[in-house]
Amino acid sequence: MSTQSVLARLPFGRRATLQQREALAGIAFISPWIIGFFIFTAGPMVISLGLSLTEYDVLRPPTFIGLENYQRMLGDPRLMTSLYNSIYYALLHVPLSIIFALSLALILNNVGKAAGFFRTAFYLPSVTPAVAIGTLWLWLLNPRVGLINRGLEVFGIQGPGWTTDPNWIKPGIVLMSLWSVGSTVIIYLAALRNVPNDLYEAANIDGANGWQQFRHVTIPMISGAIFFTLIVNIISSLQIFTEVYTMYFGNQTNNAAASAGLFYNIYLFRQAFEFLNFGYASAMAWLLFVIIMILTFIQLRLSKRWVYYEGG
């Protein structure tokens, strides 16, 4: 963006200078990202797009095969299964985790100083290594002796086969993921603390009750944080990998999850590193990328309706 073009576009000479300075300064602040983008993102992305048009096993030079990978994808039943699994999981996990995290954050916000201890407790799972989480939950979800079903027994409910019934594999994984909502809780808590008190006082004076305050003060003021976690959670849900891999695809020979637990990234990883089909894996990655992009842009568009910014 040259000085001339900026100047040429704006009608007022004086404001042009200010606008131009502002633009340059803005870009200066952003410059680290731009540099990193070209080196570590754009370049590799172009390479991976190129790879998706080839057959490549890393050990030998790639062979160009045009759109064959994409055609294969259309006829690959496992690809469809894995996509279905990831979407199903995301649809289940995202709303549940946001509601759960928000509830926790609201409660935490209301207990003042005691929150510190609880906060650590809720964040603890996020700090546990993924390998340990996977191993742990494989045992917790065991239908006969796992804590979950034993807990349910106390209430007289016979728990389902979380690890042995293909229909319950994904819900079991959702349960495991809900255990790690700590990060989201913290983000909401930070956002809640940022809501100026005087807004609540004003609402109080106007006679608003708790629920109304929640709907008309709290939610709008933290809508930015909710929006953020919504997008981020969808993106990461569609890419879940390590824990599930540890539980069902590492050295285990558990089979209930062979189809039901085959998430998109797991299948991608398998194609890349077990089958050495990097070209195909790259094509898969690009498909996921496109899906995520579309979803995010839809949300961004919709966000203008319900997300509130004060200084944007």
Binding site: E55, D57, V58, L59, R60, T63, P77, R78, N142, P143, R144, V145, G161, T163, T164, D165, P166, T253, N254, N255, A256, A258, S259, A260, R270, F273, E274, F275, L276, N277
Partner: protein, 451 residues
């Protein structure tokens, strides 16, 4: 004038040097042990027990000028792949024989012909099936290390309770096997509390196919045979063995509760009748429950011959390895008869000291195996395990392996997934294997064509 004289001098000098070097090369074909030096970095080998450390010690003593280091732990394919792709592979790699050809065919590993010649390794002392697994187009790419087999492990208390004898236990007659399974299964309050017979699906699917007279892959490694009638029948049969327990889900839920490695394992706790298992489990049993009611027998095919699926790793050298001679020396030493014997002796010593049972070790080096079991591993004082060792030796001869093929993982996943689909009730055996056949053949064709 001056230039041409210098030039001539140079040429003379060069020629003399060349001849001298050639003479040295010709006259000293076997490298002296002190000459092999440098570093050898190995990926994929763990030095966690005495079988590993003793052999490594032998290597260090024989080649004092070589500094060998290990990236501990099982081979991580991701790590290996990125190392190879970036042009800085490890100097040597310890890799599952079933995976080796995947990398060999793609040029990531180099042939060991020169190495075998230099070190004077006699490949005939190794189990031929193991050697075949690592031979591509007539060239050998790995020196086989272990030769791990499978046989039946039997809960004799359950057998007695059902009014049977050990002789009755056999996998030859499949109708009879079903009866045995039903007789040994115990159901209480509608839930299974003892599994009669565990067919070990999906892992042992190749074993079942072999038992039924078929095989999953042609000997040349190019044609998949996943949906042959023998394979389909084998899958259907093995799958049906879950019925007495109430179906696969019930079966698995129960099996997951076993204290597999503990002293209250499934034999002690009377949770299983009998089942085929990898030989290392015999070691576990010897350690944690040597007095349990166990017996061992060979798994037999439908003709009555003992068969076993043999697995293990091999020592290989990546292309662009920085120290071919060092890696070669390592491979040769680790798999040498001398090394195995030393390791077995150490194991015998340690076990005697701690009062635990010594079940020996099973190298793919058949010469070493013979010596180990005739001279080092003696009667253990525990009849049960003596019998187990006898069975172990019996099945060493009967081991088979899936032929070398460059689509290693993809091939395996194709049939694994097919078996899983059947286990989960998603498809019939025929449908599942038809799909697997198509996938596997496509993978094989693609991998072989780009050789």
């Amino acid at each position: 004038m001056k230039q041409s004289v210098t030039l001539r001098r140079l040429t003379q000098f060069a020629t003399v040097t060349a001849i001298a070097l050639a003479l040295v090369a010709v006259l000293a074909p076997v490298q002296a042990q002190d000459e092999i030096s440098g570093e050898v970095n190995v990926m994929g080998f763990g030095t966690g027990d005495e079988i590993a450390t003793e052999r490594v010690d032998l290597f260090r003593e024989t080649y004092p000028n070589v500094e060998v280091s290990f990236t501990e732990g099982a081979l991580d394919e991701q790590q290996f792949l990125t190392a190879v792709a970036s042009g800085t592979p490890p100097d040597a790699v310890y890799i599952d024989r079933a995976l080796l050809s995947t990398y060999a065919v793609r040029g990531a590993l180099q042939p060991l012909t020169q190495c075998i010649e230099d070190m004077g390794i006699d490949m005939s002392i190794f189990r031929q099936a193991a050697v075949e697994q690592v031979t591509i187009n007539g060239e050998i790419y790995g020196i086989p290390d272990f030769w791990n087999n499978i046989y039946l492990m039997i809960n004799t208390a359950a057998v007695e309770e059902a009014g049977l004898t050990l002789d009755d236990i056999s996998t030859t007659d499949w109708d009879r096997l079903t009866e045995l399974n039903e007789a040994l299964t115990r159901i209480e309050n509608g839930r299974v509390t003892r599994i009669g017979f565990d067919p070990k699906l999906p892992e042992f699917f190749p074993l079942w196919v072999r038992a039924n007279g078929g095989q999953l892959l042609s000997d040349d490694g190019r044609t998949a045979m996943l949906n042959s009638p023998e394979a389909v029948e084998a899958l259907e049969y093995a799958f049906s063995q879950h019925e007495p327990s109430g179906g696969r889900a019930e079966f698995m839920a129960f099996r997951d509760t076993w204290d597999f490695f503990g002293s209250n394992n499934q034999i002690v706790a009377d949770q299983v009748g009998f089942w085929p298992m990898e030989q290392w489990y015999m070691n576990v049993l010897a350690d944690v429950s040597p007095d349990a009611p166990i017996a061992f027998k060979a798994f037999t095919d439908r003709e009555g011959n003992p068969i076993s699926m043999a697995t293990g790793s091999a020592w290989a050298i990546p292309t662009n390895s920085a120290n071919y001679e060092g890696a070669c020396a390592l491979a040769a030493t680790m798999t040498s008869t001398e090394a195995w014997i030393r390791a077995a002796q150490k194991r015998a010593e340690l076990r005697a000291e701690s009062g635990t049972i010594n079940t020996g070790v099973s190298p793919a080096n058949a010469e070493a195996e013979e010596i180990i079991f005739t001279e080092i591993v003696g009667p253990t004082g525990n009849e049960v395990f003596d019998q187990g060792i006898a069975v172990l030796r019996e099945v060493q001869e009967a081991g088979f392996a899936i032929p070398a093929n460059p689509a290693g993982n993809e091939f395996r996943q194709a049939w694994m997934d097919a078996v899983n689909r059947v286990l989960n009730g998603e498809q019939t055996a025929q449908e599942a294997l038809d799909q697997a056949q198509a996938e596997a053949q496509a993978a094989l064709d693609s991998a072989w064509s780009r050789q």
